[in-house]
Symmetry: C7
Subunit: 94 residues, 7 copies
């Protein structure tokens, strides 16, 4: 298991369905980078300069929309995840 | 539904009417990027370094004018929205 | 009406009179960007990191001199305004 | 009259005397940008993040030496002034 | 022994196994930079602006995943280590 | 007299002796920029964000070593000085 | 003697031994920049924004490993030293 540190979260990025036109799969270059995913782990929060901690504002299981190109893609046990700062999460999809 | 985080707001951007000259629609390149929209959701506010929270200074339903090129365009259930930081809202149109 | 947010102000920029030489209007490129205008609206002030608010140091009706190229030009009900941060106001013309 | 805001000061820049060699005035490009001037107005000071104000450390009438290229040149009632942040004043000439 | 200062940690970077295709070792350029390693030493933590210290959130012996290209590679007694800021550790592998 | 403001100091830069080889003076381009000088005036210190003042850590008369290329060269009554921030003083030569 | 200011330290950089191959000295370009040295003097520490001072975390006599390219090389009484911020010291070699 991966346990994120600080205000980081781990996200299982939603795979956009292949768009096809008449059965022809569009080249990957034509696909937009996905910006949605499911939270699979959250860190303990951010430590402020006054020493207190602000909890991460999302929960495991929530689907979120995040800033394009934010975070780092990592591979763990054969699966790909995105680790990003909670600050790069724009909205929760409810 | 999209629930924005922190001091973000979600905006339904006003579509500028096509400008036409004698019935000829001007090319999109000739249109200025719209800077006005209606707030459809607001986050809980910004957490300051002292741990307190400052509420977002706009309300759902208000029409606002925002900085050009601010925010991220997202698509949700077939509609386009702009998610931006409340700091990029310049004024409320009353 | 436009209500500016935070420490922003809305300014009606002074139009520089056309400079003419012997009746020939100088090309616009030859005109300096005006740096003076009248305050038509002020925001509620800036929220400091300790949570308190600092009022905008200018009042509606005052004529001010501002940093060149500061702010955003917006159009509202057919008139052009400049929305800028009170930090970009250099001096009040009294 | 111009009343500077915040920690700004208004300076009447000292005109360097034309340097001449055998009566030939040197081209302006050959003159160094002057860095000295007389304070003609001072702002109320800088507001710190804790809400208190720090007074501008110079007084009207003092001659100061300032950072090269600092500030904004403005014209007011036919005279040129330099408006700059008190932080760009390096020293008082006594 | 190396004793890291502040919020730094010392990491023994995991060596990725050579990938081979039919016995042919792939060129090093084809290998991804490893992002995983074992903590071998931790500093005393970060001193905040209020003077208190925040402990490093990882322990010696833990395996961590860190930001690509973070830290400094050093050689000590013939072995290579990575010294990096605890802020560049994204997650603990449990 | 020049009275420096804030945490600035005024330095009389040590003139490096001309290096000569067999009596031939080396071109100025070959001389290293001097980094040592004598403090001739110090400011009142730096105002922190909490409103208190931190005194400049050097005294008039001390010889100091400063960061290369730091500060502004000024001319006053025919003599050249360097005005620099006390932060750019690396060490006192005792 | 050189007395470093603030959170600076003075380091006597370890000279890497010339690497030779069969007696042929490798060109200096082939040598890695050394990152290790002995502390010969430490400053009084860093003044935080709240006015308190944080002592430098290393002592005279300790051997330290520092960030590549950090600090300023100075010459004093014919010997070369490196003056650097304590923040650029990565680890103490024990």
């Amino acid at each position: 298991m991966l346990r994120p540190l600080g205000n980081r979260v781990i996200i299982e990025v939603a795979q956009e369905e292949e768009k096809t036109i008449g059965g022809i799969v569009l080249a990957s270059a034509a696909k937009e980078k996905p910006q949605t995913g499911k939270i699979v782990a959250v860190g303990e929060g951010e430590v402020l300069e006054n020493g207190s901690t602000v909890a991460v504002p999302v929960k495991v299981g929530e689907t979120v929309m995040f800033e394009k190109y934010a975070g780092s893609e990592v591979k763990y046990e054969g699966k790909e995840y995105l680790i990003l700062s909670a600050k790069d999460i724009m909205a929760v999809v409810e």
